[in-house]
């Protein structure tokens, strides 16, 4: 019974991070109507920045976030202006190609700088354990989970209760109408995109201690974000959160019960395929 509790809590922690990643993707999708296939790679950049800060400068990853997040925001803004803005009117398929190429570039650059060796990140919380009754949890994942939830709530607050949020919603609803009403659509899109990249810059260092860093890890993260985003439904923050928890739980539970256990990573994808087949007109159809 202890193992089961352990696994469930791990799954929830994982799910919280997935939900945050998917949320960032979902908000960008709502204002640009394009899917970014380099999404996960941007998070891997965040992880490697934390790794680099720890090794080269001796800065704890949690402290480094203060620098990494603004850096990623600026990088995201530039990336949007240079690569995404000219592509926004292009068909979905062209944008898929461009963002896939971007993911290619990020992965090769990481490979070039950090080599393909597996790396690990240590923080002040490494090895620290929290006890909740019968459940023992490593401290780092719990912090990542709490931070994910806080960030998700913050995003929700900004979108629903601020002037900027109103503009975002307006652009998401109808770009032309928003532009006619005096909203600077491109600026809103760029800010949202940059904010999403900054969120990856926060999430990356937070999850880095739990992961093995590897330049090609991004594609898996991208796909998981897509899965959670699509399961959750567009503009449905609660749905995204629930979907993230479902995928996180299914991944950790299947690692316990799946026979052979090596097939466990396939479970989220199978859930995804079945879901798309049952509800093919899901969220993507409404948008296009």
């Amino acid at each position: 019974m202890d193992t089961l509790l352990q696994i469930i809590s791990q799954g929830l922690v994982l799910g919280g991070v997935y939900a945050l990643m998917a949320l960032a993707l979902a908000i960008v999708y709502s204002v640009t109507h394009q899917l970014n296939f380099a999404h996960g790679d941007l998070m891997v950049v965040g992880m490697y920045l934390a790794f680099w800060g720890m090794h080269a400068l001796g800065v704890d990853p949690y402290v480094a976030i203060v620098v990494i997040a603004p850096l990623m925001f600026i990088a995201g803004f530039l990336l949007f202006r240079i690569v995404f803005a000219p592509m926004l009117s292009a068909p979905h398929l062209v944008v898929i190609q461009v963002t896939l190429a971007l993911s290619f570039i990020v992965q090769s650059a990481l490979l070039l700088i950090f080599t393909s060796n597996f790396q690990t990140v240590h923080t002040v919380l490494s090895g620290k354990i929290l006890r909740f009754g019968p459940v023992m949890l490593a401290a780092a994942p719990v912090l990542a989970f709490v931070a994910s939830i806080v960030l998700a709530l913050a995003a929700y607050y900004v979108i629903r209760h601020t002037e900027f949020g109103k503009r975002v919603l307006a652009v998401a609803e109808d770009r032309q109408a928003a532009a006619l009403a005096g909203v600077n659509v491109v600026l809103v899109q760029a800010s949202v995109f940059a904010a999403a990249v900054a969120v990856m810059g926060i999430a990356g260092p937070l999850v880095a201690p739990m992961m093995v860093l590897q330049p090609s890890a991004g594609l898996h993260l991208t796909l998981i974000s897509f899965i959670v985003f699509i399961l959750g439904g567009a503009n449905n923050y609660l749905g995204t959160l629930v979907a993230g928890l479902i995928i996180g739980l299914s991944e950790s539970l299947s690692s316990l019960y799946m026979r052979p256990p090596e097939l466990a990573p396939a479970v989220p994808y199978l859930i995804f395929i079945v879901f798309l087949l049952v509800r093919p007109k899901g969220v993507l159809e409404r948008a296009s």
Partner: protein, 327 residues
């Protein structure tokens, strides 16, 4: 009609250049050219369904894996020559492609959804390949080296080169024939507007089904070739990155064009290979450059090099015509 004949002549010329050129190049260059041609072949097969029929699929590595694993299993366990085994692999891939296509048609999936489903299918397939003991797990299946042309094994690398050169030329002819056939026009009609195509009497299901199966079956042959060229077939043959590369290379050349799938890999593979060899201690330089080229081409030319050249030539011709009319 004239342009069509010109294209056939161009194919013959290319094959001749390939045959003569092979006599004068080093082994390592030959290796690069073989890999480049292999990608050309794969891009050509993908182009049938992804370019001409406009069904954006990431499932091609699965077809390649079907081809490579099936022929190798038949060869290792039953001693069946891969020259026959590859047709069994192609049949398996075609059956799988038919299922995917049928699902796509029944559910009327939006394009992005179909792309994501095929992506998911490929990821699952790779995990299965890694897990299955029968399929050799992580290590895959090793084909003993030998010099037995009857079982698709050559001691001389040049023989592999001739095989892939002929395969590319045949694919080229198939593409040209498709282009100029009623079937090809139906495919283009479906790509441009599925509902309009149906209105004018195109059987959408049958047409896309045939195109998917053709694309998958021909793609599976590439798997058998790769397995024998490398003397091993392992899960890396079915990985998602292969689909990404095929899509991007075709995109650089020009998706849906006749010559684009030839141009993209012939440009990108040698660049990547050359840079990787030049900067051995800097892993990733080749792919970094390659990614930058792709982004630049897509941002500047949008539809790839071949479409851009065609467009420029057409507009120049129009200009000279209109100038002539003014005089």
């Amino acid at each position: 009609m004239k342009q069509q004949q010109l294209s056939y002549v161009a194919v013959v010329v290319l094959v001749l250049v390939g045959l003569i050129g092979a006599q004068y190049v080093s082994r390592s260059t030959l290796d690069t050219v073989i890999i480049a041609l292999w990608f050309v072949y794969l891009c050509q097969t993908w182009n049938i369904i992804g370019g001409m029929a406009g069904q954006f699929s990431f499932a091609h590595p699965v077809y390649v894996a079907f081809g490579g694993y099936t022929s190798t299993l038949l060869f290792l366990h039953l001693g069946l020559t891969p020259w026959i085994g590859m047709f069994v692999g192609a049949a398996a891939a075609m059956a799988f492609a038919a299922v995917l296509c049928w699902i796509n048609f029944r559910q009327q999936l939006p394009m992005l959804t179909y792309a994501l489903i095929t992506l998911g299918v490929t990821v699952v397939a790779v995990i299965v390949l890694h897990t299955s003991n029968f399929l050799g797990g992580h290590e895959g299946l090793v084909i003993p080296r030998g010099d037995a042309p009857a079982t698709f094994r050559f001691a001389d690398k040049k023989m592999y080169y001739y095989v892939i050169l002929v395969a590319v030329a045949v694919m080229m002819l198939i593409t040209l024939m498709l282009r100029h056939s009623r079937f090809g026009v139906r495919l283009l009609a479906i790509r441009d507007n599925q509902d309009a195509a149906r209105m004018i009497g195109v059987n959408v299901l049958r047409t896309t089904l045939v195109a998917s199966m053709l694309s998958a079956g021909l793609g599976a042959f590439a798997g058998t070739f790769y397995a024998h060229y490398m003397s091993v077939v392992d899960p890396s043959i079915g990985q998602v990155e292969l689909a990404v590369q095929v899509v991007l290379m075709t995109a650089v050349g020009g998706i849906g064009t006749t010559w684009g799938p030839l141009f993209g890999p012939m440009l990108l593979v040698p660049i990547e290979r050359y840079l990787s060899r030049q900067f051995v201690d800097l892993a990733g330089v080749g792919y970094l450059f390659y990614g930058l080229v792709i982004i630049a081409v897509l941002l500047v030319l949008r539809d790839g090099v071949v479409s851009w050249i065609a467009k420029t030539m057409r507009s120049r011709r129009m200009k000279s015509k209109s100038q002539g009319a003014q005089r």
